[in-house]
Structures are given as structure tokens and as C-alpha cells.
């Protein structure tokens, strides 16, 4: 640790946190989302970006995939075959997350990134971990704060820094339009249950990052719990009591269970065929990772809440709309089979 400490002391005086000024013109209105440790090179010289976690990986990939050094999460397997081969085959680098890091700092140095970017709700733990990495490596570290609601600004701000303001503006427009759907929702909001895990009995509590899609699509979280928190387990008895109008999931195992297990058949949402299995390729529509990939989920859910029922024509329509999103954000237009195959039910 002696080496680290000397390094630390040496850098202490020179480098302090210098929050970047918001890049947007309406700076007065926008929130302060960026926290920067170190000095960024000018946008034209940002060629090598290291994403510290999966949400940042998605954000950087949508804005400037050519700058991405590798993936913080594994992109092997069926799930990521949607991503163009050149990007899918980028190395799996692991994540930087304080104690939970799976990337060695030396590997980080060897990669020589121009900037490290992390996205997520920023708290002091994250700030101090980022500061420390910057102090140890001298690489500028950018933390992007905010929830899904802030995604237009996140896209714009990061797009500016990566030197792709035009592309960022396009994506931000899509995001803004998507986030606007909530204004058209009626006052009487249907309740939606997010089923996670193989049993479908893990869920996000109201206000959690996991259920942002439900809230932003104009649904009401079926879970009636006052206390805040993130994920929790519930029981079927509670679900029977809460009577969700709709169940959404990304877990194929649970979806199968919900169709077959006797106990689930008593829920009106299952009886009325209001249980939907959403794609998680290449990134989830509801969750996993919590990044801009969820915008398409908001669009889908808002539409489904306003026009309940599932018709074959809906699936086709959705395959088209989703393909538009994939084209715009992921630079690839998948065939209908990934949205209407056996692995999803939209």
C-alpha cells in the first residue's frame, strides 16, 4: 500500500474534483448530472472510452460504439447476437465498482482509455470510489448521475463530450418523445406487476430503479408497500390481494411457470392473458442493465396500457417499432423473429 499512498499524496494537491459545466444551452434549467475527476481531452480526441459498468456500456455503445474499448458485462451467447459482430466481439473487460470491481487497475492502465465513464445514481460511495481510481491511475473519470427520466440530458451531455452532438441530439429527441407518453395517460392507471427471478416472486418496490419503466409508461406499480427500497420478495397471496391488471417479466422461466402452475391461474392478469414476456436481447426492455435500453420498454408498455389485449397485428406493429428503436440506438435492424419468436410474448 506504500506505493499507493505515495501516489495518492502526490496527486492530492494537483487534482481535485472539477464538476463540468453542463454542455447544453439551457444550462439554467438542466440538472447537474456530470461529476468529473480530472481533465477531459477535447471531444475530437476522445477515442478510447472505458465503460465502468453495464449501464455506461449501453450508453456509450448507443452514442459512439467505435470508442468503446470493451464490455463491462459478458456479451457472449444468444442474447447479444443482435449486436453487430464487430462490437459483440469486443473483449469482456469486467466492471469498476469500488470493492465490487472485477477489472484490475493495471489492466485499466494498459488499456490507456482517454476517459472512464460510469452511469447511475451517484452517491458518496461512488464519488469516492471514482475519485480514488482517478487518483491512482491519472485517467479522467466521468460519473453521469440521474435516472431514466434524465436520459435525454444524459445522452446530450455525454454525446457532447464524446464529440457526437448530432447523434446525441437524435437519440435525446427519441428519449424526450418517449418520456412524454406519460402525459397522455388517463387518470385511472392500470396496475402492473414486475415479475423477476425464476419464481416470479421477486419484484421492484414503487420508486425503485427496477420499476422506472412502469412509472414512466404511466402504469401503477401493483406492489402496495409504502416503505422505500429496491428489490423485495413477495408471495402469491399478496399478489392475489393486489390483483395486478398486468404482469410483465423478462424471465422466460417464470413466464413458462405462470402459464402452467395452477396457483398462478387465479390471478386475473393471467386469466385475461395480460402476462407479457419482454425481450432481453441485446439489453432488457424493462431492466438489466438500467440504462437507455429501457426507453423501448416505456414505449411498448404505454401502448399496451392504453390498448390492452394482444393481437397478432400488435406483435407485427411492435416488431417494426422496436426495430426502429434498435436501428436508431444499436445501429442494427433485427428481423421480426427476435420480437415474435418463442422467446418473447409482446
Amino acid at each position: 500500500m506504500g506505493m499507493n499512498r505515495r501516489h495518492f499524496l502526490g496527486l492530492m494537491g494537483a487534482l481535485t474534483a472539477t464538476p463540468l459545466l453542463p454542455a447544453r444551452a439551457d444550462a439554467a434549467e438542466s440538472k447537474q448530472l456530470l461529476h468529473l475527476f480530472g481533465d477531459l481531452p477535447p471531444p475530437s480526441q476522445v477515442q478510447r472510452v472505458l465503460a465502468a459498468g453495464a449501464p455506461a456500456g449501453v450508453l456509450v455503445y448507443t452514442l459512439a460504439p467505435e470508442t468503446l474499448l470493451g464490455w463491462p458485462m459478458s456479451m457472449q451467447g444468444e442474447k447479444s447476437r443482435v449486436v453487430p459482430e464487430a462490437y459483440r466481439n469486443l473483449p469482456y473487460l469486467g466492471r469498476l465498482a469500488g470493492r465490487g470491481s472485477t477489472m484490475p487497475l493495471e489492466k485499466l492502465l494498459a488499456l490507456k482509455p482517454d476517459v472512464i465513464i460510469d452511469v447511475g445514481t451517484v452517491d458518496d460511495t461512488y464519488l469516492s470510489a471514482a475519485k480514488r481510481v482517478h487518483q491512482q491511475t491519472g485517467i479522467p473519470y466521468l460519473l453521469v448521475d440521474g435516472s431514466l427520466e434524465d436520459s435525454p440530458q444524459q445522452l446530450q451531455d455525454v454525446g457532447q463530450l464524446l464529440g457526437v452532438p448530432d447523434r446525441a441530439a437524435k437519440l435525446a429527441t427519441y428519449a424526450e418523445k418517449t418520456l412524454g407518453v406519460i402525459d397522455t395517460m388517463p387518470a385511472n392507471r392500470p396496475s402492473v406487476y414486475l415479475a423477476r427471478g425464476p419464481k416470479g416472486l421477486e419484484t421492484g418496490l414503487p420508486g425503485s430503479i427496477n420499476t422506472e419503466v412502469i412509472a414512466l409508461a404511466g402504469g401503477r406499480n401493483a406492489v402496495q408497500v409504502e416503505s422505500g427500497g429496491n428489490l423485495a420478495q413477495v408471495s402469491l397471496e399478496q399478489l392475489l390481494h393486489w390483483q395486478p391488471d398486468m404482469i410483465v417479466t423478462q424471465s422466460a422461466g417464470f413466464f413458462e411457470l405462470a402459464q402452467s402452475a395452477a396457483a398462478w391461474q387465479h390471478l386475473p392478469a393471467i386469466k385475461n392473458r395480460q402476462c407479457y414476456l419482454l425481450p432481453e436481447a441485446p439489453f432488457g426492455w424493462l431492466d438489466g442493465p438500467p440504462s437507455v435500453n429501457r426507453l423501448v420498454g416505456i414505449n411498448w408498455l404505454a401502448n399496451k396500457l392504453q390498448n390492452p389485449g394482444s393481437r397478432r397485428s400488435d406483435t407485427k406493429l411492435w416488431a417494426d417499432k422496436a426495430a426502429d428503436f434498435y436501428q436508431l440506438f444499436y445501429g442494427t435492424r433485427p428481423g421480426i423473429d427476435i420480437f415474435a419468436g418463442q422467446t418473447v410474448r409482446l
Partner: protein, 338 residues
């Protein structure tokens, strides 16, 4: 230590009464508010052929609470019985059913299934298989070492293999998707009976019975394991064979219980002690006492898990929260009177 027949009758009727009270209370308590009369009506509906089983009360009682209570009874009984057998076999009161690595193995199997995104039957199947593999490995490893005390070798191999499998679980946690898979793994490792269904019971019940029957048949022999191996052998017991049968039986039961409930600690460690305080250490009386207490205790813990807060609390936490103070109280009380 022998009880008089009257004492014995009192002992069993007390335990059965305890279990009945627990089950009745568990039936009446839950997040879906049902009046006691509605519970009774729903329970009796099939018997008196009321066409009422499709009502909400009927569903809650017959499809949700009863299977869950039955699963609680089964898991509690299995863990307590396995713990009792192991404590007798290892001549050590600090031994719990996961001494030979069954929980670590099951945890690794389940975590792996969740990491691979498999469905629930696979999660349960891999958990069961993982438990058997871990204990099988321990038994195999201990067979390789011949020059030491066999019990000590078994325990040490169990610790080593358990640690190895535990490291595997940690590795999977690091590799898992932190927003989707990691929470599922964590919840599984904390244990819980939410979602327990008749299908689960149908899978676990035969396995638990398959483990229980040899224990009951061999109940007289198990007492002799308290003696040194040579002395037991002199009394005509094939110690190695008996030990092997008991390990297989206890492992089957524990792995089956863990595969439907996740890792539930404390029951298998402490319930045998409580049973010993009540019934003495004679195995033929200790085993059923332990089973009845374990079943009742787990149902109490699970009823709290599903009713105390507005969300489900993990069962593994509840068993410790309820069990530890109760155990300390009992220890202090019996210490005074004895």
C-alpha cells in the same frame, strides 16, 4: 432418563397439540385478510361439497397457505431430523445438517442455474444435485484418508469441500449480472418458502420419506454410535455401514428440503438441542420429538416471514431471529431447574 408412561403420554400429546395450534394459527394468518369463519368455510368446502373452492378464500387456503404450511412442516422436519442424526453420529452437539457441505453444494447448484437463466425446476434440480455431489465428494475424499479418526476426517473434509463450493458461489455472484441475476441468487441463499406449491411438495416428500424411513428403522442402533467405534463394533454394529446409511438418509432429506426452501440455517442445529432438553438423548424418542418441534418451529418462522412486514422476509433471517432468543431462554431456564 427414562420417562414414566404417563409422562410419555403427556410429552407426545403436548407436542402434537403444539403443532396443531401452530398449523391452525398459520392457516388463519396472512396478507390476504380472511375472517376465521371464511378460513373454516373454505377448509370445509370440499368435505361438505360446497361448490365454493373457486372463491378467493378457497384459493388462498387450498392453493397457497396449505401447500406452504405443508412445505414448512416438511422442511422443518427434514432439517431437524437430519441435524439430530448427524449430532448423534458425530457425537458433537455443534453439528448441523450442512456439516458435510450439502448447503454449499445446493447453493452452488442453484446459483449456477440462476446464472444460466434456467427455469425453476432446473434451479431446484441443480440445487438437489449440487447437495448430493458435495456430500458425495466429502465421503469420497474422507475414504482416501485412512490413518486418522474417520469422524474427524469426515468433518474436516466437509469443511474443506464446503469452503470450496462456497468459493464457487462467490465466484458466480461476481460473474452474475448485478441488476438481474445477483438479487435472485441472494434471495435464494437467504431461503424462503414463498411460491411453495403442491408440485414442490410432490417432489420433496418422497425424498424426505426415503431418508426418514431408514432413520426410524435404525433408531436403536444410532444410540450405539455414542460409544467409541470399537465398543459399538463389539456390540455387533457395523459402524461404517450404519454411518454410511445415515449420511445418505440425512443428505437426501436435507438436499430435498434445501432445494425447495433455499438455505435455511439454525433449524437443524438448534432444534435437536431443544428436543434433547425436553426428551433426553435416547434416539428413538429424540428423533420424533425433534421432527415435531422442527416442523412447528419452521411453520412459526415462515408465518412470521410472510405476515410481519408488507413484503416477504427471508426465512433464513427469521429462523435465526426467532430461534436464537428462544434457545437462549430455554438454555437458561433448564440450567436453573437442573
Amino acid at each position: 432418563m427414562r420417562m414414566k408412561p404417563a409422562d410419555r403420554r403427556f410429552h407426545w400429546s403436548f407436542l402434537i397439540l403444539f403443532l396443531m395450534v401452530v398449523v391452525i394459527a398459520a392457516l388463519a394468518i396472512g396478507q390476504y385478510t380472511l375472517a376465521p369463519s371464511a378460513v373454516l368455510k373454505a377448509l370445509l368446502a370440499p368435505a361438505i361439497a360446497l361448490p365454493d373452492t373457486s372463491s378467493d378464500a378457497g384459493i388462498v387456503i387450498w392453493n397457497l397457505r396449505l401447500p406452504r404450511i405443508a412445505a414448512g412442516l416438511l422442511v422443518g422436519a427434514a432439517l431437524a431430523a437430519a441435524g439430530t442424526a448427524y449430532q448423534g453420529m458425530f457425537r458433537n452437539p455443534l453439528v448441523s445438517p450442512d456439516i458435510l457441505g450439502v448447503s454449499a453444494g445446493a447453493g452452488l447448484g442453484a446459483s449456477l442455474a440462476i446464472l444460466l437463466g434456467l427455469s425453476l425446476p432446473f434451479v431446484q434440480g441443480l440445487a438437489f444435485a449440487g447437495g448430493l455431489i458435495a456430500v458425495g465428494t466429502v465421503y469420497w475424499v474422507s475414504g482416501l484418508v485412512r490413518r486418522h479418526d474417520p469422524i474427524l476426517v469426515l468433518v474436516l473434509s466437509g469443511v474443506a469441500v464446503g469452503t470450496l463450493f462456497g468459493a464457487g458461489i462467490s465466484l458466480i455472484k461476481v460473474l452474475a449480472d448485478p441488476s438481474v441475476q445477483l438479487p435472485s441468487i441472494t434471495f435464494w441463499l437467504l431461503g424462503g418458502l414463498n411460491g411453495a406449491s403442491r408440485e414442490d411438495l410432490m417432489l420433496a416428500l418422497p425424498l424426505v420419506l426415503a431418508g426418514l424411513v431408514p432413520m426410524i428403522l435404525l433408531r436403536w442402533h444410532v444410540n450405539l454410535l455414542a460409544l467409541a467405534d470399537e465398543e459399538a463394533a463389539a456390540l455387533g454394529v457395523d459402524v461404517h455401514k450404519l454411518r454410511r446409511i445415515l449420511i445418505v438418509a440425512a443428505t437426501l432429506m436435507t438436499a430435498a428440503a434445501v432445494s425447495i426452501a433455499g438455505i435455511v440455517g439454525w433449524v437443524g442445529l438448534v432444534i435437536p438441542h431443544v428436543a434433547r432438553l425436553i426428551a433426553g438423548s435416547e434416539f428413538s424418542r429424540l428423533l420424533p420429538t425433534s421432527i415435531l418441534l422442527g416442523a412447528g418451529f419452521l411453520v412459526i418462522a415462515d408465518t412470521l416471514a410472510r405476515s410481519v412486514a408488507s413484503i416477504e422476509l427471508p426465512l433464513g433471517i427469521l429462523t435465526a431471529l426467532v430461534g436464537a432468543p428462544a434457545f437462549i431462554w430455554l438454555l437458561a431456564r433448564t440450567g436453573r431447574s437442573g
